[in-house]
């Protein structure tokens, strides 16, 4: 706890208001804002206080008077204490002296001052200047010195000593002497005052005396002339005058009185006339529509004659009442007659209120308004329902007629597509109705409850109105739900009440969902502007949320369908993009459609508008999104796998497995291209799919993830990973399929080719070249290489080694099976295997190398002289097959060659 501030030093310790005081002490806080209060002699001086340091504050003293403490208050230390005291005093202020506060210029020596009114400044009795008398003599000391005395010259207990000390303690002795002289002169002057006054004004005094004398003479004259009572005659003549005047004006006055009476009578008559004519006038005015005049007249007549007991008046009044009642009825009917503008309604309500109608016009108006809205909504529904029925009928008719008339069949579909589904139109109309009519109802209600209609609000009406508003909102939303998302209506009764539509789930409505969302949103924004209670808004809010979710899933489904359609669009046209392998348009199209849907969903659904929560905060929406994205991505996987794994039946028939070129007829060795479909051969398609898979996995998915995050979606990690792994699996299976497809026939040809023409390893023919089966094998491999390379160069490395390995295995198997080698056979076998080894070295896995080596080992050994022969043959062979060697060089060089 911070100790309280303590004031230990003041500089100066006294002064008039406005004195700059340096306050010193302890614990004044650590920063200027710590200082929260400062009082000097009870006056708050915080405003002028200037915090200098934790033990110094500079302040300007206020108008506190007398001895007092300086209390510093700090934020942490609270109110402080004071060891020293400050004395505030007021100075005598002259016209030339500055003062920080208002100081009364009252004279401090009383009555004397009024005599010297000529002088603006109070005069010192000693005739000395008090100006510059800055240093006041301490009042306490004076009190001590002169008990029961005062320095006030006007008081009885005046003490000269006090006065002198108070006012002249700095006056020099000489000045005091001069003052004494002045005082003496003044006293002298007062003593001989009267006499000198007379002396100085002698002439006027004589004038006054003369005037008084002449006045006396005149009076005496009058006395002798008119006797003792000089006013008698005057009195008599005044009375005479009065009499004459009466005679003159009596006539005029009576005439005036009569005129007044006549006027009064006329007034009464006019009033009666007004009363008796009123029924007619009212009727006329009602016809004219001047209800306000009628109201005015009615009020007037009520004021005038309501209390009258005269029978005639009463009957007249009755008649008027009848008319007014009729008017009320008419106005009321007008009021509840819809449609009507709010202004008009308000006017009518005012009229009715003024006419003291027995109805409750405001409430009736509200009710009729709400009923009208309901009615309009129902009408709208019915209208569109009828339209829909007609439409369906037309369709069925068209369908029915399609068999007979070709024309209608061709005519129908485009019409079907271009025409907007009836329930979408209905939604648009319904939204329009609500946004048009509901604000009026709400305004009317607000006016009613705020008292703008000058109607007393009946108790319970508030609840009733709320109920009306809520029920309208409910009906609005439920009707909409039934039209587009009926699956969100839980109760079957609701479905019955709010109508059913034949097409809500059909594909026709799907493209219109964003439009529907727009309509509803625009209505929602209008409702929000009305400042409706959140309870009412929430109904619409929930509907919008459901609609958004639905819209989102529909959009995704649409995209999903679109992707499904992609399989039909595959052209197998290979394009080389950048550093990736040849791919078809498929993955690109896939990416496009996904990005598109991301964009559309984001724009139409995901972006939240006024008073809409983020859709993704909603768990169901999130789940739905995840599901949809997952199915979207899986769809593409499905497309790819369908494309690759499905062998066309036609193809199967046409293409038998490759038969050795050495055995089979040349025509059979070529896969005849199916003329009906322009599809490339299946192996090509496998490779293409493989490449597409890779491309999708490595590029497209990444792009999509970026697209999702850019679009403000939560990154669909799971779906992407899922898709990725699926694609990988697909790749693997496709690759296997391809390998199988390729290596099986290749390997299968080796054995028949080897023993073609009844070849026997126990031959005696000296080898001069490699055997044809080796060449065929090499050529076959080159064929595979070229096929793979033409589509996806990077795949060469994963395909060829596998093939080579199976070849090596087969060779090894064959070698083991050989029963007997002749010398020439040994040579031949070695030449063959060495050639294969040499040609396939770039694609040989360790396993392949091992098999080749084993194969060599199974062949009996040779003498070194014969080794030379092998090398010779190999050399010749290599030279001859240079082109083939080049073909099987490292894929990189191949890539370059390409």
């Amino acid at each position: 706890m911070t100790p309280p501030p303590i004031v230990t030093g003041l500089s100066p310790n006294e002064g008039p208001p406005g004195t700059k005081i340096t306050i010193r002490g302890e614990n004044f806080g650590t920063k200027p804002t710590d200082l929260t209060g400062l009082k000097v002699c009870g006056c708050d001086c915080l405003l002028s206080a200037e915090w200098k340091s934790p033990n110094k504050i500079i302040a300007i003293s206020g108008p506190g008077k007398g001895k007092g403490d300086i209390i510093v208050t700090t934020r942490l230390g609270g109110e402080g204490v004071c060891n020293v005291s400050f004395k505030g005093y007021y100075e005598t202020v002259g016209s030339l002296k500055e003062s920080a506060v208002w100081v009364e210029e009252a004279p401090y020596f009383g009555g004397k001052h009024s005599l010297s009114s000529s002088s603006y400044q109070q005069e010192d009795p000693l005739g000395l200047s008090v100006e510059g008398n800055d240093k006041k003599f301490p009042e306490d000391d004076l009190k001590e010195l002169f008990p029961n005395s005062s320095g006030n010259i006007a008081l009885e207990n005046f003490s000269p000593g006090w006065f002198l000390l108070e006012n002249h303690h700095v006056t020099s002795f000489n000045d005091l002497k001069a003052g004494l002289l002045h005082l003496r002169r003044k006293v002298e002057g007062q003593k001989e005052g009267q006499l000198s006054f007379l002396k100085s004004n002698i002439s006027s005094v004589v004038d006054q005396l003369d005037t008084i004398g002449s006045m006396k003479d005149k009076f005496r004259c009058d006395l002798t002339e008119y006797g003792n009572e000089p006013t008698l005659k005057l009195d008599k003549s005044i009375k005479e005058c009065e009499r004459d005047a009466r005679k003159l004006f009596d006539d005029v006055l009576t005439r005036r009185d009569r005129a007044e009476k006549t006027r009064n009578a006329l007034n009464v008559l006019a009033r009666f006339r007004f009363l008796f004519c009123l029924p007619c006038v009212i009727e006329r005015n009602i016809k004219k529509g001047d209800y306000e005049i009628v109201i005015n007249d009615y009020m007037r007549v009520k004021n005038l004659f309501n209390k009258s007991d005269v029978a005639v008046f009463k009957t007249a009044l009755n008649e008027i009442e009848k008319k007014v009642a009729g008017l009320q009825k008419m106005l009321h009917q007008k009021l509840v007659q819809m449609p009507i503008s709010v202004e008009e309604q308000k006017r009518l309500i005012r009229h009715l209120v003024n006419l003291e109608s027995p109805y409750e016009p405001a409430w009736d108006a509200i009710q009729s308004h709400s009923e009208y809205i309901n009615l309009r909504m129902r009408h709208c529904y019915e209208e569109h329902k009828v339209a829909e029925a007609i439409f369906i009928e037309e369709i069925s008719k068209a369908k029915g007629g399609s068999s007979t008339s070709k024309y209608s069949k061709f005519n129908q579909p485009p019409q079907d597509l271009s025409s907007i589904p009836e329930n979408v139109l209905f939604i648009e109309d319904l939204c329009e109705i609500v946004s048009e009519l509901f604000p009026d109802l709400w305004k009317l209600g607000q006016a009613y409850f705020t008292g703008d209609l000058h109607v007393k609000v009946e108790p319970g009406r508030q609840v009733g109105f709320k109920h009306i508003v809520l029920s309208i909102m409910e009906a609005f939303c439920k009707t909409l739900r039934s039209a587009i998302i009926p699956h969100t209506l839980d109760k079957s009764t609701d479905k019955a009440t709010y109508g059913t539509w034949s097409t809500p789930d059909s594909d026709t409505i799907k493209p219109w969902l964003p439009a529907c969302l727009r309509y509803v949103r625009s209505t929602y924004s209008i409702l929000i502007k009305l400042d409706l209670p959140s309870e009412a808004l929430d109904i619409v809010f929930k509907f919008i949320l459901d609609l958004r979710i639905h819209c989102m899933s529909v959009l995704f489904k649409q995209a999903s369908d679109q992707i499904e359609q992609l399989s039909k669009q595959e052209t197998w046209k290979i394009e080389f993009t950048g550093k990736h392998n040849g791919v078809t348009e498929l993955p690109i199209k896939f990416e496009q459609s996904v990005q598109e849907v991301i964009q559309i969903v984001r724009e139409s659904v995901l972006l939240s508008e006024q008073r809409e929560g983020s859709l993704l905060d909603n768990p169901t929406a999130n789940k739905e999104l995840d599901k949809q994205v997952d199915s979207l991505l899986s769809m593409f996987h499905k497309v790819l796998s369908n494309l690759s794994l499905k062998k066309d039946n036609d193809d199967d028939d046409e293409c038998t497995t490759v038969v050795s070129q050495l055995i089979g007829t040349p025509t059979a060795s070529y896969r005849t291209h199916n003329s009906k479909s322009q599809l490339p051969i299946w192996e090509h398609r496998l490779l293409t799919t493989l490449s597409n898979c890779q491309y999708t996995r490595l590029v497209v998915l990444k792009n999509l993830e970026e697209g999702f995050t850019k679009g403000g979606y939560p990154a669909p990690k799971v779906a992407l990973d899922n898709c990725c792994s699926k694609l990988e699996a697909l790749e693997k299976s496709v690759l296997e399929l391809y390998l199988e497809e390729k290596s099986d026939p290749l390997v299968g040809t080796i054995e028949p080719s080897m023993y073609l023409e009844r070849f026997d390893w126990d031959t005696q023919i000296k080898p001069t070249d490699v055997r044809p089966y080796v060449k065929e094998c090499i050529n076959n491999l080159i064929h595979v290489h070229s096929e793979v390379n033409s589509i996806s160069p990077t795949l060469v490395n994963s395909v060829l080694p596998q093939v080579v390995q199976t070849i090596s295995e087969e060779i090894y198997r064959l070698m083991v099976c050989v029963q007997k080698f002749s010398k020439a056979g040994i040579l031949q076998a070695r030449v063959d295997i060495n050639t294969l080894q040499h040609f396939f070295q770039n694609y040989s896995t360790s396993k392949a190398k091992y098999y080749f080596k084993e194969a060599l080992d199974t062949i009996p050994a040779l003498e070194t002289s014969e080794q030379l022969i092998i090398e010779e043959i190999l050399k010749v062979c290599k030279k001859r097959m240079k082109l083939q060697i080049l073909c099987l060089q490292q894929p990189i060089t191949n890539g370059v060659l390409k």
Partner: protein, 201 residues
């Protein structure tokens, strides 16, 4: 805090006198707040009061820092009346201020009417040795003549600042104790008077 009902510590009223600009306020502020104020602003009359420990005893010192300027000479009497001890300060760099001490001493004696009033002659600004105009001897001679102590101080370096205040307070305390003794027992007082009378007789 709880010891509030105990007697308030003794209050010693010290008055700083001396010509204008000799450093009365500087000494006071140095003593009170360990602060040396460079800029000169003539004092009118400043009050300071704080609790200090004097020889193990809690006392309160009340310092009245007066105006040195002649303009205020007329009201000095009032101040002097309330003082219990005086620090008469002059500047060793200004002979005039030293001469003025004579006048102050006389005025104090006249007002207090007491030869033994606690009083210290203080030569301030002793850090400005090179500008010295009043020799130590000269000043201590005068002090001896008055029967008071002479101390040289420096408000700037805080040399002897505490000493002069504490010395003065000790004098004041000693004197108050003496007075208490005399006023404590009236009998003693009377006996003293009698004694005095006897002596005169």
């Amino acid at each position: 805090m709880s010891k509030k009902p105990t007697v308030q510590p003794a209050l010693h009223k010290v008055i700083m006198v001396g010509s204008g600009g000799v450093g009365k306020s500087a000494l006071t502020l140095q003593f009170m707040y360990d602060e040396f104020v460079e800029d000169y602003e003539p004092t009118k009359a400043d009050s300071y009061r704080k609790k200090i420990l004097l020889d193990g005893e809690d006392v309160q010192i009340d310092i009245l820092d007066t105006a040195g300027q002649e303009d205020y000479a007329a009201i000095r009497d009032n101040y002097f009346r309330s003082g219990e001890g005086f620090l008469c300060i002059f500047s060793i760099t200004e002979d005039e201020s030293f001469q003025a001490t004579q006048e102050f001493r006389e005025q104090i004696l006249r007002v207090k009417n007491d030869e033994n009033i606690p009083f210290l002659l203080v030569g301030n600004k002793c850090d400005l040795e090179d500008k010295r105009k009043v020799s130590f001897q000269e000043a201590s001679d005068r002090a001896k003549q008055w029967g008071v102590t002479y101390v040289e101080t420096s408000a700037k370096t805080r040399e002897h600042v505490d000493k002069v205040f504490f010395d003065l307070m000790r004098e004041i305390r000693a004197r108050k104790m003496e007075e208490n003794k005399t006023s404590n027992g009236k009998k003693k007082d009377t006996s003293k008077k009698k004694k005095l009378k006897c002596v005169i007789l």
